[in-house]
């Protein structure tokens, strides 16, 4: 999987967000707020391919977290990106 092209982190009202707009006829605007860890992961992954395992490894390498927790966190994070329609799979 990879992060869909065309999305980027913007600073709105002091928060880091992803802005997703709909089609020109239908308003499907979504504003997704990212916490600092999400921003960091987003920057690390860029537009490259990644897996649950890769995200977990990044978390273990840079945060004080054990591999099992990291994998669980990775699944939750990927799940929320998927739900927001930000992944190409």
């Amino acid at each position: 999987m990879r992060i869909k092209r065309g999305y980027k982190i913007r600073s709105i009202a002091g928060e880091s967000v992803i802005v997703s707009v709909g089609t020109l006829n239908v308003n499907l605007t979504k504003v997704i707020s990212l916490n600092p860890t999400s921003v960091w992961l987003w920057d690390q992954l860029g537009d490259g391919e990644f897996t649950e395992k890769r995200v977990a490894e990044l978390l273990v390498e840079n945060y004080d977290v054990d591999p099992d927790t990291a994998l669980a966190d990775s699944r939750v994070w990927i799940g929320s990106l998927r739900k927001a329609g930000l992944l190409d799979e």
């Binding site: 065309g6 980027k8 913007r10 600073s11 709105i12 009202a13 002091g14 928060e15 967000v17 802005v19 707009v21 709909g22 089609t23 020109l24 006829n25 308003n27 605007t29 979504k30 504003v31 707020s33």
Partner: protein, 301 residues
């Protein structure tokens, strides 16, 4: 040549010497007519051009949408926007060509259209659609946004009512006019909001939907109120991100497809949000709803 000034920003429409014929079609621009600005650079010139040819390269974005009963398409090329509308009134294809230089520092842009050429009398809503697009694009770099809303003036300040088509913007505005003393309509479809010296101002514009209300006036912006129909009246003040989410869909969607325009739009909205409160109003179409929104915005301290 027509010279206009909207929200303090000058632009020109080259009618190929058809001012007299077209003035009757463009009466909504009358209050915004301006003299040729001396030593001031126009935001853009919309030139009339019978045959528009441009780079043959494939567009990297093609976005169809509807303008009233007409089919429109936005094409994004590496160096320009092309907007086409197939008119169901006269069967013609109208085209707007807006080249850009890669950023949003628009000044003295040369836009082109076949809209006003030879003997055509284009439908008014297409003239307005093209000019709203051209103006909005060129105005982005000047901290100005056309906001799809209905604008009321009260106590020397403006309140903008937002909502998708059919949510009762005009109805709620009418309820203010009928129930809140000293209320006046500024615009019923597309007022301009602009940040000037850190303060948000609302300007009347030539774009007022079905209500002929073309006031060339400006007031400090007191609040935005996003309307939603409900079986009760309730007003809330959402957090900053929800407020942003409420405002963005009311800005021109055709300028949200390219990164640099969306960047400029988000930056201006962010600045507006730090200066102006946003409310969400669940409401019935009744006088109490108007009083509730009025009292929330103009609460006595």
């Amino acid at each position: 040549m027509f010279y206009f000034r909207v929200a303090g920003l000058p632009f020109r429409v080259d009618t190929a010497d058809r001012e007299r014929e077209l003035a009757g079609l463009m009466t909504n621009y009358g209050p915004f007519a301006d003299k040729q600005p001396a030593g001031e650079i126009s935001l853009f010139t919309l030139a009339t051009c019978a045959d528009i040819t441009f780079t043959e390269a494939e567009p990297y974005g093609v976005y169809p949408y509807d303008v009233a009963d007409d089919k429109a398409v936005l094409y994004i090329y590496s160096d320009r926007y092309i907007l086409t509308i197939n008119s169901s009134c006269d069967g013609r294809e109208y085209l707007l060509d807006c080249p850009f230089k890669g950023d949003v520092e628009f000044e003295n842009c040369q836009f082109r259209t076949n809209l006003l050429s030879d003997r055509t009398f284009p439908p008014r809503h297409i003239i307005d659609h093209f000019l709203v697009f051209a103006f909005s694009l060129a105005a982005l770099g000047h901290g100005a946004l056309v906001i799809h809303s209905s604008a009321i003036v009260n106590d020397g300040r403006t309140v903008l009512f937002l909502g998708e088509s059919g949510t009762g913007k005009s109805t709620h505005t009418r309820l203010w006019l009928e129930n809140i003393p000293d209320s006046r309509l500024l615009n019923d479809d597309g007022p301009v909001v602009r940040i000037v010296d850190g303060r948000a101002r609302a300007y009347g514009s030539p774009w007022s939907g079905k209500t002929p209300c073309y006031r060339n006036e400006v007031y400090p912006l007191a609040a935005f109120i996003r309307l939603k129909q409900a079986p009760f009246n309730k007003i809330e003040k959402p957090g900053a991100l929800a407020a942003f989410g409420a405002l963005l869909p009311s800005c021109l969607p055709t300028l949200q497809k390219r990164e640099s325009e969306l960047d400029a739009m988000c930056a201006t909205l962010s600045a507006i949000l730090s200066a102006v409160p946003v409310y969400t109003l669940d409401c019935l179409p009744n006088a109490d709803a108007a009083r509730l929104s009025h009292d929330s915005v103009f609460a006595r301290v």
